[in-house]
């Protein structure tokens, strides 16, 4: 495996650009951070130089050129021969000031770096979330909700980490490496050639280790994820495990998977374990070389070309150079590892919403009539079968239509085309005499209210939930809608009434109550067309009938389309559709269907005849 496959790099460039668009207001701090870091690094690299000079002074053989310059040119004093207190104190103070500057800039860089990377992550999360809000149903189907959650949390966190590294460490280390190298040559002259040999050696070893280890880690991380998934399965399915007395079987299964993970991890980490000793070998080599040849050079030139202070500084630079190289490899790994997360994030960001409003959208609707003209639909191009096959249907405004049929017969698919939750693959759907694709999407969906089968209340008060239907609804309107949906009675019975807090997923109200609140929420839209997708399955038959009666009485203009399991829910509709295999198998009134469809009769008898 290559570290950067060529094709990947090109695609990666576009991808990084897309992500970088989320930096926005944190651009300033993102640029400032590396600058601040550079000052810190410069100071850190100068400190050993000053120390070397100081040591030379302490050694007392001769003054460094820099000392002459400061004391004779700048301060206008004559220097005594040999060591002297003022010189030492001067250098000491200089050192403290430099460390202070380095501290100041390092601290500032730490702060701006934190702000920039956290801000970048914040914007990324915002962009992702906002993007998902533009998704249509078919986009949502493509990404599972769990994967979207991971992208918004874990993946963004990975990118944030890499970004912080990028603006701080990824600047610091190469800079440190180069600057220290320069300083090493300035101080050590030919002695610094040792680094020309050692640095490439360490570089090659480090990067071959990475090269070897990264694919291993990628693989084992996938295995590790799967191991954790299987633990989760076990925990969730504990009742099944215990019922079938499969504890030992589960233990064996786990042991096999866990030891596989262990072996792979160990193999990878054993290779990685070469890092430390290699680094140490390089440091040791530098030390020995410096001592051997340094001592020769000092004695041979009587301390002119080289001296003890420089020797000490050279060792410090050596450490900084090798350490920086090591860090560069760490940065490289972190950033490469985060590319996968970056890819998953940009996958969401580039997803095109499948449904958008036309350029000049219609913002009015004549009536609530619905027409299907030769409509066929498939969920994806890859799907083998059409979910809907050549549907022709006319529903007049104000009619009540019932839809029955087994699971998988595309009842839900049919109604989702009306409010353009999906677009028809062939043919067209007309609402109020106009193609649904000519309306403004928001306007269309406000006019066509759908109570989904998989419906949800959100954490918040009942009032807040109801106002999803209409944010401006008055309390009276809320009560009115709840009365129609037969929800007012039980809501009033709660101690906090309409201010009762609904837990996540509506877990503190019963299934029937939840369904009735969802209907009330949809009624608040005052829609031209109301679609109930199996929305009263948990409501008792009497209440169900009362809701239907209320809808008929108080919303006569509204077209009502009801998908149901119970024949009783649709018996009195103007039209009943019997769906089978993505087609309308039968259509007619209750009496007509009793006569024409044996399936309908069978179901009717099994459900509605009390002996």
């Amino acid at each position: 495996m290559r570290l950067f496959p060529v094709a990947y790099a090109k695609e990666g460039n576009a991808m990084l650009k897309r992500l970088a668009a989320s930096i926005r207001e944190y651009k300033k701090k993102s640029i400032l951070t590396p600058i601040l870091v550079s000052v810190e690094v410069i100071m850190e690299c100068l400190i050993p130089f000053i120390i070397a000079t100081l040591v030379t002074e302490v050694e007392g053989k001769s003054h460094a050129g820099f000392t002459y310059w400061v004391f004779e040119r700048v301060l206008g004093q004559t220097l005594p021969a040999g060591s002297s207190l003022p010189v030492i104190v001067f250098y000491g103070c200089l050192l403290v000031v430099m460390a202070g500057i380095s501290l100041l800039f390092g601290t500032l860089a730490g702060m701006t770096g934190a702000d920039a990377s956290c801000g970048f992550a914040k914007n990324l999360r915002h962009d992702l979330f906002a993007k998902v809000q533009t998704f249509s149903f078919s986009n949502v189907d493509r990404f599972s909700s769990a994967s979207l959650v991971t992208r918004l949390t874990t993946d963004v966190a990975n990118v944030q980490m890499a970004y912080m590294m990028l603006i701080r460490v990824a600047v610091r280390c190469p800079f440190m490496l180069i600057f220290s190298m320069v300083m090493a040559f300035v101080m050590g002259g030919k002695m610094a050639l040792i680094f020309v040999a050692v640095v490439p050696f360490l570089g090659v070893v480090l990067f071959s280790i990475i090269h070897k280890v990264m694919p291993l880690f990628r693989r084992v991380f996938r295995k590790y994820d799967r191991l954790n998934e299987s633990i989760e399965e076990n925990v969730r399915g504990m009742r099944v495990v215990k019922s079938f007395v499969r504890e030992d079987y589960e233990r064996e299964k786990f042991d096999a998977a866990a030891s596989d993970v262990k072996n792979d991890f160990t193999r990878a980490e054993k290779i990685l374990a070469l890092n430390g000793p290699t680094m140490q070998l390089c440091l040791n080599t530098v030390m020995i070389f410096t001592l051997l040849f340094g001592s020769y050079l000092i004695i041979d030139t009587a301390g002119v070309a080289f001296n003890v202070g420089k020797l000490s500084a050279l060792l410090t630079y050596g450490f900084q150079i090798l350490f920086s190289l090591m860090m560069v490899s760490v940065v490289f790994v972190t950033i490469t590892m985060s590319l996968e997360s970056a890819r998953r994030i940009s996958e969401v960001l580039v997803e095109k919403p499948a449904i958008q409003s036309p350029k000049e959208p219609l913002l009015s609707m004549k009536d609530g009539s619905v027409v299907f003209e030769g409509v066929s639909f498939r969920y994806s191009e890859k799907a083998e079968k059409n979910a809907l096959e050549n549907i022709n249907l006319h529903i007049q405004s104000g009619e009540t239509v019932g839809i029955l049929g087994g699971t998988g017969t595309s009842k839900t698919t049919l109604i989702q085309l009306i409010s353009r939750l999906y677009d028809a693959t062939e043919g067209r759907v007309l609402v109020g005499g106009e193609d649904v694709r000519s309306y403004d999407v928001t306007f269309l969906r406000d006019s066509v209210a759908v109570v989904l089968q998989k419906n949800l209340l959100f954490s918040g008060t009942i009032k807040e939930n109801l106002r999803w239907g209409n944010p401006l609804a008055t309390d009276e309107e809320l009560i009115e809608a709840c009365k129609m949906a037969e929800a007012h009675e039980f809501v009033s019975s709660f101690p906090q009434g309409y201010d009762t807090y609904i837990e996540q997923g509506g877990s503190n109200v019963s299934g029937g109550q939840k369904q009735r609140l969802c209907i009330a929420r949809a009624l608040l839209k005052k829609p031209k067309i109301l679609i109930l997708d199996d929305s009263t399955s948990a409501v008792d038959t009497k209440t169900d009938a009362m809701i239907r009666f209320a809808l008929k009485t108080y919303m006569p203009e509204t077209t009502k389309i009801i998908i149901a399991q119970r024949v009783a829910s649709v018996m009195d509709a103007d039209k009943i559709l019997w769906m089978d295999g993505g087609k309308i198998a039968y259509m007619g009134t209750h009496e007509e269907l009793l006569a024409s469809s044996s399936e309908y009769r069978e179901i009717y008898e099994s459900q509605c005849k009390v002996d």
Partner: protein, 631 residues
């Protein structure tokens, strides 16, 4: 026990666990670490010798050739030491990889193995997300601890000790200066580190909140679309997102500051040592040291290097503190899991395959389809065999999940062999609780349960459960092929038997239409199947086990009425000759039961067959005619 003691206990336990897993290897690694660290701290001594030689040569004007042998000798000793240290480091690093991964593996296994024997109560009272985090987050903190913090602490301790001794050997005054500086460094590190820890905790909470919100919104994305609620939900998200930004920004600021702070304080100490050393040298002050050396350039230069080493190690340790604190918390939670009391089992009656010989039951090894309870009587020293028939009776049973709250009151149930017994009632009426008692997921508080006349407490739990098949409303499938999932019911079932079971459950039809048929791999609890299809597989899984008694807890709730009619035929076959307990919302499912019990608030309020209950015109009648809403 106070907090500090617990922490100490946790460390001690962690160490003893580690030693227990690697009684030989671990001391070897520790010895290697000490060798590496001690040798690594010594070069200053050699540097001192070499500089001393150089200094002497310069002062006396000796040519290099004369000093060379002495210098080379010193360097050679150093090379040897390096060789030792390198070898030690090489093996230590490799062994550490083995130990870390091995430790994690053994710990995981210990946790998982222990978890399998925990009672269902544990899983009912702990969120699966919390349990998972022991295996992921907490284990991760321990990995960090074992692979990095422990060795780093050891290395730093040895290095600090060695370096400090050498410092004192060279010059006491400078050594004291370094110590004072380092104390200051530690104090600051704790302050900044504390601030960082505080905000990291807050960041964690903010992440949790964001995750919760995102999860809710992503799950409800289609509802958001239907109500055109996009703008509002973005605004809500932004508020939470901004709060997260604030906390994480603070946390990272502190964390980012720590490094430059420690580094530069290190630099300042370094500078101070240079100044003070220089002053001491220039003024010719009297040195106090173990070696009795006078202050010279050969003392100061290595001393400067040691100062760097010293402060470097202290800052290394400071950076480990955060991860050590986190690891201790993680270890505490893991130990709590390990300390959970396993399910107890005093049962001694076992389930065996049997064969009838001349009207007498004889135990056999092979599957005969006939089972018997093997009941040893210790006092008489005899063994009796009772044929398993599926006669389950509950007499006057009371039960509560907690002692304060009784959820079942005086429940009597008599299920004769081959009968279908149904429970009907609202959520929380106690239907599932009754089945939990029959398979002893929970134990009754009062009353008795008899299985074929045997007290179920005397039956080994594994055998009791083997004799009962369960299909639950919430279907749990495991990662693996469809076939693997069906075979979960009986591990030695052949492919043909599994397919036959799928036929029986009415699942064969859709399975053969899956891309790979029975070999289709299911992931994430069969995410690509509908709830109804999952239930069909679960029914097939129970069918292949073919236990004598079945419990169907809302087993067909997600199968539409038409498919259910198809499944019903298979289910009828499955139930033939078996005692079956059925829990269902849909009354059409329970209509043909021999006995239907209507439960309300833990009491059985009506019992009888369909016709007699309808004639009674009570609760069942109301439910059946739809005049009453369940849940």
């Amino acid at each position: 026990m106070n907090k500090k003691q617990t922490k100490k206990g946790t460390i001690a336990r962690l160490l003893s666990l580690l030693f227990g897993f690697y009684p030989v290897l671990l001391p070897v690694v520790i010895a290697l670490i000490i060798t590496t660290a001690a040798v690594g701290a010594m070069p200053s001594l050699f540097m001192n010798r070499v500089i001393d030689l150089i200094d002497g040569a310069l002062r006396n004007g000796t040519p290099y050739a004369e000093v060379a042998p002495a210098i080379i000798q010193v360097v050679l000793v150093l090379v040897c030491l390096y060789a030792v240290s390198l070898t030690a480091s090489f093996f230590q690093n490799r062994l550490m990889a083995v130990i870390t991964q091995g430790f994690l593996y053994k710990l995981r296994k210990k946790m998982f193995d222990g978890m399998q024997s925990l009672p269902i109560r544990y899983f009912d009272t702990h969120k699966s997300g919390d349990i998972m985090s022991y295996y992921t987050n907490d284990i991760d903190t321990l990995r960090q601890m074992v692979s990095q913090s422990f060795p780093q602490l050891l290395i730093s301790a040895v290095t600090l000790l060695t370096v400090f001794s050498i410092m004192v050997y060279f010059c006491l005054w400078l050594a004291l200066l370094v110590v004072v500086g380092v104390i200051l460094m530690t104090v600051l590190a704790r302050k900044v580190g504390g601030g960082s820890a505080k905000y990291f905790v807050r960041q964690q909470a903010a992440i949790g909140k964001t995750e919760g919100f995102v999860q809710e919104m992503m799950n409800g994305q289609k509802v958001v679309k239907v109500f055109c609620h996009e703008k509002e939900s973005i605004a809500d998200f932004d508020a939470i997102n901004d709060a997260l930004y604030e906390d994480s920004r603070r946390a990272h600021r502190y964390a980012n500051i720590l490094m430059p702070l420690l580094n530069n304080i290190g630099n300042i100490i370094y500078a101070l040592v240079a100044i003070v050393g220089g002053i001491l040298l220039v003024t010719g002050a009297r040195n106090v040291s173990l070696s009795g050396m006078a202050i010279s350039i050969a003392v100061i230069v290595p001393f400067l290097n040691m100062t760097k080493q010293f402060s470097g190690n202290v800052s290394q340790v400071s950076q480990q503190i955060n991860s050590i604190v986190m690891a201790m918390a993680g270890a505490g939670r893991i130990f709590a899991l390990l300390d959970e009391k396993p399910e107890t089992d005093e049962g001694y009656v076992t389930l065996v395959n049997a064969r009838e010989e001349n009207g007498v039951l004889v135990e056999t090894a092979e599957r005969t389809g006939i089972y018997a309870w093997k009941h040893p009587h210790r006092e008489e020293g005899t063994v009796t065999y009772t044929r398993l028939q599926g006669d389950v009776r509950l007499f006057d049973v009371d039960f509560g999940y907690t002692p304060e709250k009784t959820v079942l009151h005086n429940v009597d149930v008599y299920a004769k062999p081959g009968q279908k017994v149904a429970f009907v009632g609202a959520t929380g009426a106690g239907k599932t609780t009754i089945t939990n008692l029959i398979n002893r997921f929970y134990d009754i508080a009062d009353g008795k349960i008899r299985y074929d006349g045997i007290n179920i407490n005397k039956i080994k739990k594994a055998d009791l459960r083997r004799s009962l098949g369960i299909v639950l409303q919430e279907t749990n499938l495991f990662t693996g092929t469809v076939l693997d999932n069906i075979r979960y019911g009986r591990l030695d079932a052949t492919r043909e038997e599994c397919i036959a079971a799928a036929h029986l459950a009415g699942a064969d039809d859709f399975i053969t239409r899956l891309p790979e048929g029975y070999e289709t791999v299911l992931r994430q609890n069969g995410a690509n199947l509908s709830q109804g299809q999952r239930q069909l597989i679960a029914i097939a899984r129970a069918a292949v086990a073919a236990p004598p008694v079945m419990i169907l807890d809302e087993a067909t709730s997600s199968i539409d009425t038409r498919t259910e009619a198809l499944v019903q035929r298979g289910m009828d076959n499955l139930m033939k000759g078996r005692t079956v307990f059925v829990i269902a919302h849909r009354l059409s499912t329970v209509r043909n039961s021999n006995v239907i019990m209507v439960l309300e608030k833990g009491h059985i309020i009506e019992r009888g067959d369909h016709e007699s209950l309808l004639a009674e015109k009570g609760k069942y009648y109301q439910l059946y005619t739809g005049a009453f809403e369940l849940e």
